[in-house]
Subunit: 213 residues, 2 copies
């Protein structure tokens, strides 16, 4: 891969899916696959797949297809699956607790090092051996650490002010679960999780099917 | 819109995003917008936007752009935002509880009519005035109701068997939160929520930025 080459964010957003599918193929001992077969499995056009994979050098050979393992490793390298991230959860309500229990994140290198809330009933309790700390002490906590990602699981109204605070203290990335496209005046990377987008697509597909019946 | 025209699922998956952005524009009293401006806001190429919106008849006029309100209404109609859905949550752990508190879903027509678990400590408790019921009574519950969507918030290992059971009883759509591409031998619509895909993209962008610094 030519590491100087800029890969567009649209392609990057599709890579985790490729990565999952390739991982499934490896588990099934499938060693090579054509863009056409990948296309059928993933519901993406074969030409889109070839375009995407060409972005980082590609590995397809005419008449052979892609070598599953090297493609899997290469995509993993690009995504940085061997990178380590220090992560905190802000907001220890249901969503925060649910995320703290996603042990899958650990395996991907996302290490949970702190959980914060402002609710006195939650502060001092433990989630997965990590004590919930007072969010008002977050500035002290971060003073001698690098925190790559804060998972924001706070109520809708509080999200912008909490985001501003953690970004101003040097957190590099925000994973926002409030249903808004968060924008703040800090140089921070934000990924908004829009759960209702996925639910609306499901609703559409269910109704579409019912109309056909 | 020509209702006979088939809109591809790739386009449908982008519609909730257009819908959110157009809703923001309406709140700001912006009445019309060009594909170029929409492109800058959304980070999608202008040509992709024109292609997407052309799929359902489009509304763009050269030199004028799109009428925000009619585009918003049209996309809302396609997505069926005025449709009603009966929804149940299976699994009343943290994720199930978090979803039961997303009142935003209500506003979009997704009505929560039941919550189920097998844990005796949870059965009988209430979430948002809805009593958690024993999943073993789900077949009786569904016998006189249409359930459009089951939100599956059960442990990874149990997900396939729970999915098979609710699909066999006639639930039309499954919203799966286990980190797997669920496939079952029933004629049911499945949307898998892959939280770690979004986290991996965030991780990539954070590291990419750090490399540049």
């Amino acid at each position: 891969m030519n590491s100087d080459k800029k890969i567009s964010i649209a392609v990057i957003k599709r890579l985790p899916r490729y990565y999952r599918y390739l991982s499934d193929l490896l588990k099934m001992d499938i060693t090579r696959i054509s863009s056409k077969e990948l296309s059928q499995r993933m519901g993406i056009t074969a030409s889109q797949i070839r375009q995407d994979l060409n972005c980082f050098g590609g590995f397809g050979q005419q008449g052979y297809g892609y070598n599953v393992e090297s493609l899997y490793n290469e995509i993993g390298n690009i995504l940085g699956v061997n990178d380590k991230f220090n992560v905190v959860i802000i907001g220890a309500g249901n969503m925060g607790q649910a995320l703290s229990n996603y042990t899958n994140f650990d395996k991907r290198g996302f290490k949970l090092i702190g959980i914060f809330d402002t609710n006195p009933e939650l502060i001092g309790k433990k989630l997965r051996d990590i004590e919930i700390m007072d969010f008002n002490t977050f500035d002290k906590f971060i003073s001698d650490k690098t925190i790559d990602i804060a998972m924001l699981c706070v109520p809708y109204e509080k999200t912008p002010s909490v985001a501003n605070k953690v970004a101003s203290l040097g957190v590099k990335g925000l994973w926002n679960f409030s249903p808004m496209d968060l924008e703040i005046p800090y140089d921070v990377i934000i990924e908004n999780v829009h759960l209702s987008d996925s639910l609306m697509v499901l609703g559409y597909r269910v109704k579409e099917k019912q109309r056909k019946m």
